[in-house]
Amino acid sequence: MALTQKQTRWLLLTPAGLWYAALLLLPLAVVLIFSFGERNAVGGYAPGFTFEQYANLPARFAAFRNTMTLAPLGTLAALLIAYPLAYFLAVKVSSRWKTTLLVLVIVPFWTSILIRSYAWIFLLGGRGIPALFDWVGIEGVRLINTPFAVLIGIVYGYLPLMVFPIYVALEKLDKQLLEAAADLGTPPWRSFLQITLPLSMPGVLTGTMLVFILLMGEFLIPAILGGGKVFFVGNALVDLFLQSRNWAFGSAVAVALVVIMLIVVTLYGRLARRFSVGRDDVGLM
């Protein structure tokens, strides 16, 4: 019994559709409704219709500012470290070692990010890296509970997510293009800029987008390595729901974060398309 094309489409989309409707759209709708409500007397949510929560958003300006500074910085740092590594893995390594090295990139994922972030507390604390600096005569280095510590944690945690998309893009690169360029007397740096880099852009865009979006919602790494002082929007949300119990305001902050994220991602996608003229596979933005 053959299925019609329409039936096939429904069959393919129903599981994901149900999943997203129940676990994404419905909760989002609840958050939207809550954001117009009020805080209950003992905390929590009281129904209402007010724009008060949105008017109060500037009270969390610092959290938005921290997120909007450290998320792009973290993404950029991860990109600068990941690209050479991905290039090395895709182009320079012999196929004998490739698999082993790729597995090594994934190995950190075998341990929970929570535990790995805790390990950084000791590395960045006074008896860790600062003690090494002390030993070579550079005194007074303070790392733990600073924005820099959070940046280190972020780059460490998200690096593999940046390496893989770039690796995949570089792996697909047709080496004949580079050989042809060399035959025609193009210096290597020029063929990198004119051939390799443009052709790897889809990977770069996927990687940066993936890391950036996750960083916008990050709360664990700042909480652990920022000592409660480096506050992301994610930390403000945790605080509003799990400490000060202002669900209405928390919902408004969450809606604001989603809106900002949509705007940034749309603009970035547009920009990306302009820089990769004529390439269809950037359409995944």
Binding site: G227, L242, N246
Partner: protein, 384 residues
């Protein structure tokens, strides 16, 4: 409070504990001679038809989830409890009463026992989040043995909702190698944190104590909810924030590795730090601050209610409670337990500060828990 009134003398109990810790006697021997075995027998007597540990386990379930505070138990006691009852205790640690309230309000916390502080219990009762305790299931709880001052917040309108765990104070721990002596006022704490100790001080991730002690700095009440006084506290806290090492209620690691030099500190943490590192001292702020008592309570939606009663009953056994106190260094209000503790612990100035110092302290007030201005002030301070 004579030694004869207890099943085992103070001296004998401590000797047996040392022997057990050194491994020279077995756990079974230790349980037998210290009366812990008897305690278990009493417990099973209160739950008819339960004889052996494994048999009881079927009625009690295999686990109890305990929501408590950092560094507040002797882990070995939980192992003994598992040996005796087959119930594994899963411990969740929290740094503020607000966090606990938020979890219970959201529902589905999964907790069987939690440890609320005196001033929060009336709110839990009003919000219908905790259940009245069935005292018949807590044969080791003896109301008469407890000092009323540290026990009466558990009883609301004649109904017992919570039984006392420990009491204590919130003071200042400081490392004298760096602070040149004990820091004993909130004025020197907050002023020093912005000056000579910049980057070295910690405050709690907890509105009651962090805002409360900032209020005390100005001579206001620890419990104030007056908007103009809260504005003073906010100004001070925002001013101090860039100079802090951390905002956290789990401050022992920072103090121990030397990254931090002073912190807001609860009695037992002060005692634990002082025992291991004598250079770390503990003092109360002379302007005032907090005195508190903590309780065991059972949430309305506790999934393992029988295991919850068994666990509370076990932890209130004087012999078990004495081992808890030796491990965590918080004062106990139970005279039966104190009869088992060494004299030097009962004379310890960290646990039992001079009466005139204590009289300046205030118990937290229920209004501070639910006051929206204090909650939002704390959130603004953290996100600043």
């Amino acid at each position: 409070m004579t030694d004869e009134s207890t099943p085992i003398s103070r001296k004998k109990f401590l000797e047996e504990l040392r022997r057990y810790e050194k491994g020279s006697v077995t756990r079974r021997h230790f349980l037998g001679v210290t009366g812990l075995g008897t305690a278990m027998a009493v417990m099973s007597g209160a739950m008819p038809g339960l004889v052996s540990g494994r048999a009881r386990a079927q009625e009690l379930g295999d686990r109890a989830v305990l929501a408590t505070w950092p560094n507040y138990h002797d882990p070995a006691n939980f192992d003994l409890f598992t040996d005796e009852t087959g119930v594994f205790t899963q411990v969740n640690v929290f740094g503020s009463n607000e966090e606990m309230l938020a979890k219970l309000q959201a529902g589905g916390s999964g907790w069987d026992v939690f440890v609320p502080t005196n001033y929060t219990i009336s709110t839990y009762v009003e919000a219908d989040l905790i259940e009245p305790l069935d005292i018949s299931k807590l044969p080791n709880y003896d109301a008469k043995a407890f000092q009323a001052r540290f026990a009466d917040a558990g009883t609301i309108d004649g109904t017992v909702y919570a039984v006392p765990k420990n009491w204590g104070t919130t003071g200042i721990a400081s490392n004298s190698n760096h602070t040149g002596g004990v820091v004993d006022s909130w004025k020197s704490f907050f002023d020093g944190a912005r000056d000579q100790w910049t980057g070295r001080a910690m405050v709690h991730d907890y509105q009651l104590t962090t805002i409360g002690n900032a209020l005390v700095y100005f001579g206001h009440s620890f419990n104030s909810v007056a908007p103009n006084e809260l504005a003073d506290a906010e100004k001070l806290l925002i001013d101090v924030k860039p100079h802090l090492f951390a905002i956290t209620s789990d401050y022992q690691p920072g103090m121990r590795n030397g990254d931090a030099w002073l912190t807001m500190c609860w009695t037992g943490d002060g005692k634990q730090l002082n025992s291991d590192m004598p250079e770390i001292g503990f003092a109360l702020g002379k302007e005032g601050g907090e005195i508190w008592s903590d309780y065991y309570a059972i949430p309305k939606d506790a999934p393992h209610r029988e295991a919850a009663y068994a666990l509370i009953n076990y932890l209130l056994t004087p012999e078990v409670n004495a081992r808890e106190a030796l491990a965590h260094g918080y004062p106990v209000a139970d005279s039966r337990t104190n009869a088992l503790l060494p004299e030097e612990l009962l004379d310890d100035p960290i646990l039992y500060p001079a009466a005139e110092r204590l009289s300046a302290l205030e118990f937290g007030a229920a209004a501070t828990l639910t006051d929206p201005n204090r909650a939002e002030l704390m959130a603004r301070f953290k996100s600043a």
